[in-house]
């Protein structure tokens, strides 16, 4: 799902047109663009702006307000690790820090081989099985270091 595909203006225009008649279409449009291409390319801005009768600056403002939207491709896989209180109470911080140290990256960064992006999020509604995460959109619970290390090995085909 997070895998990015190369820019295709025609496809983008189709996607935008399919959503443009919705009430408050900006978020729906940005979501489908990101689903399709993996991120919201600069080339998309004028198209979205035109469809919504807004300026490019306004579209840029919307994209940057929301944590979800990315303007650059992510790694092949995306791990969203919860950093909020219930996960903290189960040692989530330590697990996350050790994991990032192992990968040699910080929050929001991608491993040099482009395999994995790790993002911090605040609560996934999985607080009764903390620490929790979403891996390419699939929920994971009661995460320990072993589970995360296993995940990386799987990602890298080890």
């Amino acid at each position: 799902m997070p895998r990015s595909t190369s820019w295709d203006g025609t496809r983008a225009s189709e996607i935008i047109a399919a959503q443009a008649s919705l009430d408050g279409a900006a978020l729906p449009i940005l979501h489908v663009l990101q689903d399709e291409f993996g991120y919201i390319a600069d080339e998309a801005l004028p198209l979205v702006a035109d469809a919504l009768n807004l300026s490019r600056a306004e579209i840029h403002g919307i994209i940057t307000f929301y944590h979800d939207f990315r303007q650059e491709p992510a790694g092949q896989h995306v791990l969203k690790l919860c950093r909020a209180e219930a996960c903290q109470s189960m040692g989530g911080n330590k697990v996350a820090e050790a994991f990032l140290a192992l990968l040699g990256i910080g929050w929001g960064e991608t491993t040099p081989d482009g395999c994995l992006t790790v993002e911090g999020v605040y609560c996934l509604g999985l607080c009764a099985c903390a620490p929790a995460a979403l891996y390419d959109g699939e929920p994971l619970g009661r995460l320990g270091s072993d589970a995360l290390v296993g995940l990386v090995q799987e990602v890298r085909g080890l």
């Binding site: 729906p28 209180e85 219930a86 903290q88 605040y122 509604g125 009764a128 099985c129």
Partner: protein
């Protein structure tokens, strides 16, 4: 064919229920027996997930928590007949955790197929709407007012009064907006309901539409809840095909349609005016109030904004009467509250009870103490803007006013337990860090105050000039409380000051002088 029930709510999936589902199918086909697996929501007893229930002549028999390696042995024991087994739980309703609850809003969750209208109706669904279709709008509003229902999203505003305002304003278009942004740490009741019994929410919104004269509704779901989003979208299609949504609800000639929208990762979009901005396709900047959304809300039109649980309580109220609902609870907190117990606790889950239960009953009796087995130290009630409370305050009842008088809040009913490894100065620092990350940036006390707060906490944690920095901290908290435009900045001092008040020892970072032996 024997029916087997397995939860596919996001938490059960996180604990491996999909694998269990696949293995049950595989094992059954290997043995040449037929099973019909019904995918349900969760009963909300998460320490027992993955849980399966098998339908037998004696009712549903539950087994859990299951590991993949348990399945073949379970079939060896004669699984489909509900045989004895070390993981056999019997009738799940007889578990004290469930037996002691009063499930009104969550009555069907985990029992029914979330996408079966037949199941929904067979379990009392759409009785409220059928009743409401025969009533004048003002009568519906009065019934909700009589129930004493207060908004479950956090602010606790009386739902009936909000609806009355919207009903009694003239407009060519009105809207019902469901706030499904559920961003508070430690909360998951909205998610559980949307995944396990979405028609209840749809029915509640339809009744709200009839009550105030709104023909269109939106459900704003946070993007972290993709499973809920898919389930709700399917449920809307099914309800529309079944004649429960559309241009003539149940042939009444009255219209109500529903659409969903996905958030995009912004905690502030749970604040109702920020949510409306976001629904309109803009940055989620908080609006100044007045005007109230009830008068000028979505696209400038009168709008009811209600939390998922508020709206999902309405079908029960219309089916059984406002008076029956108001008989549960204490003081000015009427009805039931779906408590969400989470964090460092043995038995986390959803606990729907009449208001008035104490924190101690929840944490000790239901929760069974900490998950790590270490001593209990603190509990945060009401999400990231809620207070940290110590063991000495566990006799507080869950009631809006009782929490407020303890300088805390009930919020959306989330309870997060911490053991003695917690450092409350770090939690206070986190409260500012969270506010800095999630502030919409519209007003200075919050935007700048949160960043300053992190800095001050860093100095306090490093033991630098404690006297002076405690003073700065208190001034900052007073400023944020008094001068923030919305409760994001306005309530961030609650976790901070409660941590400092109840756990001062964690803020005292000066190195101890070594005790000299006598």
């Amino acid at each position: 064919m024997t029916r087997v029930f397995i939860s596919a709510d996001a938490a059960s999936l996180a604990l491996g229920s999909r694998r269990i589902h696949a293995l049950v199918l595989q094992e059954a086909s290997r043995r040449g027996v037929e099973v019909d697996i019904v995918t349900t929501g969760s009963r909300g007893l998460f320490w027992l997930e993955p849980l399966v229930e098998v339908e037998t002549p004696e009712g549903r028999i539950a087994y859990g928590p299951l590991e993949p390696t348990d399945i073949s042995g379970l079939f060896d024991a004669g699984f489909l007949d509900g045989p004895p087994h070390p993981l056999r739980l019997g009738h799940i309703e007889e578990q004290p955790y469930l037996a002691k609850q009063t499930r009104l809003t969550f009555a069907r969750c985990g029992i029914v197929d979330p996408l079966s209208l037949d199941d929904y109706r067979a379990h009392g669904g759409y009785a409220g709407l059928q009743g409401a279709l025969l009533l004048a709008p003002q009568v519906i509003v009065d019934e909700v007012r009589l129930s004493g229902l207060r908004g479950r999203g956090g602010a606790g505003f009386p739902t009936g009064i909000k609806w009355d305002t919207v009903l009694n304003v003239e407009a060519d278009q009105k809207y019902i907006v469901c706030n499904a942004d559920e961003g508070d740490s430690g909360t998951f009741a909205d998610r559980l309901l949307m995944e396990g019994d979405p028609f209840t929410l749809i029915e509640g919104m339809t009744i709200a539409g009839l009550a105030v004269g709104a023909t269109k509704g939106f459900i704003y779901i946070r993007s972290e809840y993709l499973h809920a989003y898919r389930t709700v979208n399917r449920a809307i299609e099914i309800a529309t095909a079944g004649g429960y949504l559309g241009s003539s609800i149940c042939g009444s000639g009255r219209a109500f349609t529903l659409e969903t929208r996905l958030g995009a990762g912004a905690y502030i979009c749970g604040e109702e005016t920020s949510l409306l901005e976001s629904l309109e396709g803009k940055r989620g900047m908080v609006r100044a109030k007045p005007p109230l959304p009830a008068l000028r809300g979505l696209f400038g039109k009168p709008t009811v904004v209600n939390n998922v649980l508020s709206l999902a309580s309405v079908p029960w109220i219309l089916a059984h009467g406002g008076k029956a609902y108001a008989e549960f609870g204490m003081g000015r907190s009427r009805g039931t509250l779906p408590v969400q117990l989470a964090g460092n606790v043995k038995r986390g889950g959803i606990i729907e009870l009449a208001f008035g239960t104490t924190l101690r009953e929840i944490i000790e009796e239901f929760g069974g103490g900490t998950a790590t087995g270490r001593p209990f130290r603190a509990v945060q009630v009401g999400g990231p803007l809620g207070a940290y409370l110590p063991a000495s305050m566990l006799d507080l009842p869950l009631d809006y006013e009782a929490l407020a008088s303890a300088k805390g809040l009930l919020g959306h009913g989330g309870i997060v337990v911490f053991d003695d490894s917690v450092d409350l100065s770090q939690q206070a620092r986190f409260a500012f860090e969270f506010c800095a990350a999630e502030s919409c940036g519209k007003c200075t006390p919050c935007r700048v105050g949160a960043v300053r707060g992190v800095e001050v906490m860093d100095r306090i944690i490093a033991g630098i000039e404690p006297e002076k920095n405690f003073e700065v901290l208190e001034d900052l908290c007073t400023l944020m409380t008094d001068a923030s435009l919305c409760a994001m900045g306005g309530l961030t001092p609650v976790p901070v000051m409660s941590a400092l008040t109840h756990f001062p020892e964690d803020f005292d970072k000066l190195p101890r002088l070594s005790v000299v032996a006598e």
